[in-house]
């Protein structure tokens, strides 16, 4: 077991960003889905120790993030975190940026540190951009550079907040390959449901600051089985409908119309149905 959150909550003023949440994160790739404002980033920041929770305790690799300074530091040594938005320092090269962060991650020996920086640059495909100033990199390259800093030291817990933003399909596939092959725990917050279905062993859906689903991808898909249809007309009461490239209308949820046939749901379909159920529950 790598990380645990026990009754962790966060309020900003009178707004509850995260209701008391208990999660246990074991080895593997875990996807965190949820709409904007669901509390995903708050949860990730708390887990990474960048933000203190209002209540509850967090532990990473047996070290309490919410404990003493020494415990928090010990936990931080095992965490790699990619924030949602990264503002890069001015005037640094890719190598210089990673080298500086490696020092902040306690890589004291210059030779080892430089070797580690070169390793992560190669991992994200930026080995040939090492001496280029960060401001001269493209958006996708900057995102990969930000991912590279999280990979420094091969942390036991890798927390990635929307890592694929700005990456082209090839780069996304490359990132999947990189993450799927690594040991330890990877927690990815994303809006890209195809990344979840392609990569994750487990999915946690967060909405309104609460965990709405926590299970495997097949379990999430099973929750939508028989509830997604294609036909000539849209399902009455469907959560979402759209005309596909075949000319048929795909309906997520609702009552199947005449001639509509059930199709295999995707993670996105299941997510939309889950969101719809949550919204209906909240309205009720």
């Amino acid at each position: 077991m790598t990380a645990t959150l026990d009754a962790v909550s966060k309020t900003f003023g009178r707004t509850a960003a995260l209701h008391p949440t208990t999660l246990r994160l074991d080895a593997g790739v875990i996807g965190l889905l949820g709409p904007n404002g669901a509390g995903k980033t708050t949860l990730l920041r708390i887990l990474s120790s960048a933000l203190a929770p209002s209540t509850g305790t967090v532990a990473v690799a047996g070290h309490e993030v919410t404990g003493s300074q020494a415990e928090r530091t010990a936990a931080r040594r095992r965490i790699g975190y990619l924030p949602q938005e990264v503002t890069f320092p001015r005037g640094m090269t890719s190598f210089g940026f990673l080298d500086y962060i490696a020092v902040l991650k306690e890589w004291g020996d210059t030779e080892q540190r430089h070797a580690e920086v070169r390793r992560v640059l190669a991992l994200v495909g930026l080995a040939d951009r090492a001496t280029v100033k960060v401001r001269a990199l493209s958006g996708g390259q900057r995102r990969r550079l930000a991912i590279a800093q999280a990979l420094l030291g091969d942390p036991a817990l890798l927390i990635l907040d929307e890592p694929t933003t700005g990456l082209d399909p090839e780069q996304r596939a490359s990132l999947r390959g990189l993450l799927s092959g690594r040991p330890g725990t990877v927690l990815i917050s994303t809006h890209q449901t195809e990344d979840v279905s392609a990569l994750c062993d487990r999915v946690v859906v967060l909405d309104g600051g609460r965990v709405r689903f926590d299970g495997s991808v097949p379990e999430l898909l099973a929750s939508a089985a028989g509830r997604v249809h294609q036909g000539a007309t849209a399902n009455p009461g469907a959560v979402q409908t759209w005309k596909t490239g075949t000319g048929l209308i795909r309906s997520v949820g609702g009552r199947p119309g005449p001639g509509a046939s059930a199709v295999e749901p995707t993670v996105e379909d299941a997510y939309l149905l889950l969101r719809s159920a949550t919204a209906e529950g909240a309205a009720a």
């Binding site: 931080r76 902040l104 991650k105 890589w107 800093q149 091969d154």
Partner: protein, 300 residues
């Protein structure tokens, strides 16, 4: 589980300080200031009596404004920029083992770069003082000693090379907005102009401000050809300035929400006490009143 071997987490301050020193050393603004200072030093050596156009004094006793501006004021900007860069890098990583206070100390350590240049300037100024002694119409005179003059040269020429960058660090910690640095530079220069001792009413308490003249063709006496020496002890003032520098670093350290603030408050309290004591000693020791050099200079 960590699969890549990580070296033991000891003494990261030294490693980080070396990084920040390197960053300071490659800052363009630092090089601009250092190059201009070297050029001024060389010019003074070649033509030591030309500084005020009157040909009546050695530039070594009045040239402190150059290092204070070129290393101190520019150092404020350089350090604020380095601090912001460090903060951005730390924020980009989101969560790192090295805390903000270690980064702050490492940045403060980078002030050795301008300090080193300022000490070289000081050595050159002392050499200049001996090779081309100041004219009798300047300083020292009357109760003043060479040590008094050397202390003033050190306080006004060397200490700003540290206090400027530390002010930049302090401001970057507490007021990280980008417009703050240029505004601070303008304010520092404006207040320094007002506090440099031109007004007789400020002569006793002007030493509160960390840059003020101690002698020269000052205030109402300007134009008479007689130099003035203002009251106070420059030796005690150096202690005051160093205490203010320490307070700047402590204040910057206090910004770290994870620091031991209760302990820091005690240390800050002690540093304030030392600063106040040194300030009182500055005002009470040394020259009790302003005195004028009886020898009129060529400029009068």
């Amino acid at each position: 589980m960590t699969t890549t071997a990580r070296p033991p987490a000891t003494s990261m301050l030294g490693v980080l300080a070396r990084q920040e020193i390197r960053h300071y050393l490659v800052a363009k603004l630092f090089w601009l200031g250092a190059a201009l200072l070297v050029a001024l030093c060389v010019a003074d050596f070649l033509n030591p009596d030309a500084t005020n156009g009157a040909g009546d004094y050695s530039s070594s006793v009045m040239g402190m404004v150059a290092p204070s501006a070129l290393l101190g004021v520019l150092g404020l900007i350089v350090m604020a920029s380095l601090a912001r860069r460090s903060d951005r890098a730390a924020a980009a990583a989101g969560s790192v083992a090295v805390p903000e206070r270690t980064r702050t100390l490492a940045l403060a350590a980078a002030a050795v770069v301008p300090l080193g240049v300022a000490l070289l300037w000081y050595a050159a100024a002392l050499a200049q003082y001996h090779i081309h002694p100041p004219a009798p119409s300047t300083v020292p005179f009357g109760p003043m000693t060479d040590g008094h003059v050397f202390a003033v040269m050190f306080a006004l020429g060397v200490v700003p090379a540290v206090s400027g960058p530390i002010l930049g660090l302090f401001l970057a910690r507490w007021l990280p907005g980008r417009g703050v640095t240029p505004l601070a530079v303008v304010l520092v220069v404006l207040v320094t102009i007002l506090m440099q001792g031109n007004f007789q009413a400020t002569w006793h308490w002007r030493v509160v401000w960390p840059w003020t003249y101690w002698y020269g063709p000052i205030g109402w006496n300007t134009g008479t050809g007689h130099w003035m020496a203002l009251p106070g002890s420059p030796e005690a003032w150096i202690a005051y300035l160093l205490a203010v520098c320490a307070l700047g670093v402590l204040g910057a350290l206090y910004h770290d929400p994870e620091s031991d603030r209760a302990r820091l408050r005690l240390v800050i309290g002690a540093a304030v006490a030392v600063a106040v004591l040194a300030l009182v000693l500055t005002m009470t020791l040394g020259l009790p009143e302003a005195v004028a050099n009886p020898i009129a200079g060529a400029g009068g």
